[in-house]
């Protein structure tokens, strides 16, 4: 498998709080990565840096071998992003938001967007500020999928979803995407859900990757489930 994304020496601090410390990671295309970490360990920070929402203090990100400067925006046409807390222009309506986003993504799939809106039972005419957090997450997900991304970053979105949607999301959508060759980085702290889909396991701890290994291999070596593996790594110190 070919390298899709490489992160080298990434560091980020918020005031005196150092979140990422000389962080390295290589992501190969077509795989599902599960990123585990405790609260405040930097999963969201990493996702936001990858999406160019916030700048890193140091380090570089390479997409398909090309370094991405913070000011670059073109690469995001191939990235999908579902954040933990959905952030929308609250005054827009659902369909308006989809139409607005459609202009920025060359591979925008209007049919898929319409299907997902229907699948998630979203009213296209509903104003976003009237939607619940779960509904907003569904809209984020619909938008991310409609962009037909090469690389999808899911920043712990399932915690706000209802159980049927979560199951639907994990069982069908993620598998479907993985089958179509989309690379997925799924950051979460809900280990049971991740266990069903993860191919390569990443554990973030103390600003660095404590583990970067194929999940099946780790599981075979440790004879533990994902929760125990995670706990064993983050409680080492």
């Amino acid at each position: 498998m070919s390298e899709l994304l490489r992160i080298e020496g990434l560091s980020k601090s918020f005031g005196r709080h150092r979140v990422l410390l000389d962080f390295d990671l290589t992501i190969e295309s077509g795989r599902v990565y599960g990123l585990l970490g405790r609260n405040g360990e930097g999963k969201t920070t990493l996702a936001r840096i990858l999406m160019g929402v916030i700048p890193a203090d140091a380090g570089g990100i390479y997409y398909r071998g090309r370094k991405i400067p913070f000011l670059d925006s073109a690469y995001k046409r191939e990235f999908g992003y579902v954040p933990e807390d959905p952030f929308f222009d609250e005054e827009m309506i659902v369909q308006g938001s989809l139409d607005f986003n459609a202009r920025f993504y060359p591979r925008w799939d209007r049919k898929r967007a319409a299907e997902d809106i229907e699948r998630f039972a979203l009213d296209p005419k509903a104003r976003i500020r009237t939607l619940s957090r779960g509904m907003k997450l569904k809209l984020e997900l619909a938008m991310a999928l409609a962009a037909s991304p090469e690389f999808l970053i899911l920043d712990d979105p399932t915690s706000g979803l209802d159980v049927p949607t979560r199951r639907d999301f994990l069982r069908d959508i993620i598998r479907e995407l993985a089958a179509s060759g989309t690379t997925i980085l799924f950051a979460t702290h809900l280990v049971h859900e991740l266990e069903r889909i993860v191919e390569r396991l990443l554990i973030l701890h103390a600003g660095r990757l404590a583990l970067d290994e194929d999940f099946d291999k780790v599981k075979a070596q440790t004879q533990m489930n994902l929760e125990d593996i995670f706990v064993s790594f983050v409680s080492k110190d």
């Binding site: 005031g15 916030i54 000011l71 952030f87 222009d89 005054e91």
Partner: protein, 649 residues
């Protein structure tokens, strides 16, 4: 991408726009319903221009990123494949277009109802300051400025009211500071800018400061971490402060360096050693025949553009000391023709030598040996008794200042108190000089006086006579002065030569020919080209170019050039290096013409289109210099290659 963001912003802020539109509709209704209440309508118009538009701009500008902060949707925008600068610009453009739309509505009212211009147009006074452009322009400028400042600041904080207040303080504070600085004076003189330039300088300051804020805001927006408010604010300040300082420095540079209306000039003060000398608003330069380029002799501002004299390797000129605490003080400076030995010989610090403070100068002339300067001062002047003489003489090094006694009749007293005196030339081996006296009475009186330095007595050499041209009427050897005089007052001028040794005159023209004030001596002083206007038996008068030979004492060639006065006015005939051909300028035909010895046209060289108002022809070797009276630039033509080059701008 830009369009989508632009439309989104319009949709988001439509309510604010319609609020503004509603105010304008109310304003219109008030004018329609209360046509007789002029005072009230005037105040409403003032309120609209001085309060509504600036505050509307502040409201729009400060709302810039308010919703993004409120919803946290800045992260939403940042995570899309949109250039951050595009986001900033699209939002700014949308808000600016809203303000522009409101302005267009107001301008439509302005055009439909002419009384609005009576209420607020024309020169106005605001808080003691003269607003020459009227309130609408002022208000438009201020509102765009305030919108830009407020929008730039809106990236800093989520509360629109805080941003609005901050913008008001910062925007108006900087405006007032710049305005006060532009109007600050030392003594009676503006420190930074001439009053005529104050509005343009102010406009420049507003544009530069707005750009400084916008630049700092875009950079912060694109590069900073919006999740860390303190870091973002510090980053913004770190960019804004140097950029605003740069903007203020740019404004100061503009005020000092860029000439305003009426501040530019390019004035030839004559030639010496075949090299023409020019005085400009930036200093004094000559065109060097050896270096083939402009050579600055003194770079100094506030030069009096009329007063300069060159002779035998020396130059003298006057300049103002505008920083004088009492009045504009005039100074006399001298230098060698290579720019060395520059020295102030009169002005500040020379009062001990007998020079009255603040004495305005009217004319000056260096002696042919470069040893002395004669000066004419204006009357009455502070420190100079009404009966005092305006004639002065001093050595080139500033010593030996002497107030020369003058005949009251020379001064135009008592019959013509406004007589104007002008130096013409030195005579008799520097033992005297000629002065032209012009009376302002009707009909005008003209006299040529000889001032004898030995006897200190002036006597009239010629009645009803003046020099034949303003510049270079004296032959290169200093033997003859071209003059024109009226044998009978009111009759046509006769062109004549005045022998500067014997003071005898020889007529060149006669009959009904009317002399045109353009003469040109060849380099040896053997021949003189001149132009006369000649009446025809039928048809319009014609203008004749002719050449007079001193040796043969007659006109040796002449040709009818044109019947158009506008052509003849600017021919400026100038001898070429060979002394046989003449170069003339034909402005209506946009060309220079080379005329052969028989004055027939030999060659025509077209003027480049970017010389707007050609004038002032000089020939230096194989080069011809042409002044542009509109742009105050100097152009050089290589007469061999026929190529043009701008050598002063």
């Amino acid at each position: 991408m830009f369009g989508a963001l632009f439309i989104k912003e319009w949709k988001q802020k439509a309510l604010t726009f319609f609020f503004g539109l509603g105010i304008l509709v109310l304003f219109l209704l008030a004018h329609l319903a209360l046509p007789g209440k002029r005072d009230l309508l005037e105040w409403l118009t003032y309120a609209l221009l001085l309060l509504f538009f600036p505050f509307m701009a502040l409201i729009l500008g400060s709302s810039g990123f308010e919703s993004e902060f409120r919803n946290g949707s800045w992260a939403y925008l940042f995570s899309r494949p949109i250039n951050k600068a595009t986001i900033w610009l699209a939002k700014y453009a949308a808000l600016l277009s809203m303000l522009a739309a409101l302005w267009l509505v107001f301008l439509a009212l302005w055009l439909v109802f002419p009384w609005l211009s009576e209420l607020a147009g024309g020169t106005r006074v605001l808080l003691g300051f003269i607003i020459e452009t009227g309130f609408p322009f002022w208000s438009l400028l201020q509102s765009v400025f305030l919108l830009t400042v407020a929008f730039s600041l809106s990236i800093l904080h989520e509360k629109q009211s805080n941003i609005l207040f901050l913008s008001l303080i910062v925007g108006l504070g900087l405006t007032v500071a710049v305005w006060l600085a532009l109007n600050s004076k030392v003594g009676q003189n503006p420190v930074w800018s001439a009053p005529s330039k104050a509005i343009t300088t102010f406009l420049v300051s507003q544009i530069l400061i707005a750009l400084a804020f916008a630049g700092a805001s875009i950079l912060t927006f694109a590069r900073s971490d919006f999740s860390q408010a303190r870091e973002k604010t510090l980053s913004f300040l770190g960019r804004t402060i140097p950029l605003v300082v740069l903007a203020l420095a740019g404004t100061a540079a503009w005020a000092v360096l860029v000439p305003g209306p009426g501040e530019r000039y390019l004035y030839s003060i004559g030639a010496s050693g075949g090299e023409p000398y020019y005085i400009t608003e930036r200093g004094v330069f000559k065109y060097s025949a050896t270096k083939n380029r402009v050579q600055w002799l003194a770079k100094t501002r506030q030069i009096d553009f009329f007063l300069g004299s060159v002779s035998s390797g020396k130059i003298a000129y006057t300049a103002f000391d505008i920083r004088s605490k009492t009045d504009v003080a005039e100074e006399l400076w001298v230098a060698n023709s290579d720019g060395t030995g520059r020295k102030r010989v009169l002005g500040r610090g020379s009062r001990e030598s007998g020079w009255p403070a603040g004495m305005p100068m009217a004319d000056l002339m260096i002696s042919p040996d470069g040893a002395k300067i004669v000066l004419l001062t204006q009357k009455p002047a502070k420190g100079l008794a009404a009966e005092g003489s305006p004639l002065w003489i001093l050595n080139m090094d500033g010593t030996g200042l002497e107030n020369l006694p003058a005949d009251p009749v020379l001064l135009g007293l008592p019959t013509e108190p406004r007589a104007y005196l002008h130096f013409v030339s030195w005579v008799r081996d520097v033992h005297g000089f000629l002065i032209l006296q012009r009376g302002f009475a009707t009909p005008g009186t003209f006299r040529l006086w000889l001032y004898d330095l030995k006897s200190r007595i002036a006597r009239i050499v010629l009645e009803n006579g003046v020099t034949a041209s303003w510049q270079s009427p004296v032959s290169p050897g200093g033997d003859f002065l071209a003059i024109k005089y009226q044998k009978t007052p009111g009759k046509p001028w006769t062109l004549a030569l005045l022998d500067l040794k014997t003071l005898e005159t020889t007529d060149i023209t006669g009959g009904e020919d009317r002399v045109w004030s353009q003469i040109s001596w060849d380099q040896k002083g053997d021949r003189m080209a001149y132009i006369v206007r000649r009446a025809q038996a039928s048809g319009p008068d014609v203008y004749v170019l002719a050449v007079y030979s001193v040796a043969e004492k007659k006109t040796i060639a002449e040709t009818v050039m044109t019947s158009k006065e506008e052509s003849a006015l600017l021919y400026s005939p100038t001898w070429l290096k060979d002394g046989a051909r003449l170069l003339i300028l034909d402005r209506p035909e946009s060309c220079l013409k080379i005329l052969g010895p028989d004055l027939s046209e030999v060659k025509r060289i077209m003027l480049p289109a970017w010389i707007r108002l050609p004038a002032g022809l000089h020939v230096v070797g194989d080069q011809a210099l042409v002044e542009d009276e509109q742009t105050y630039t100097l152009w050089r033509l290589d007469l061999n290659k026929e190529t043009w080059k701008k050598i002063y701008q």
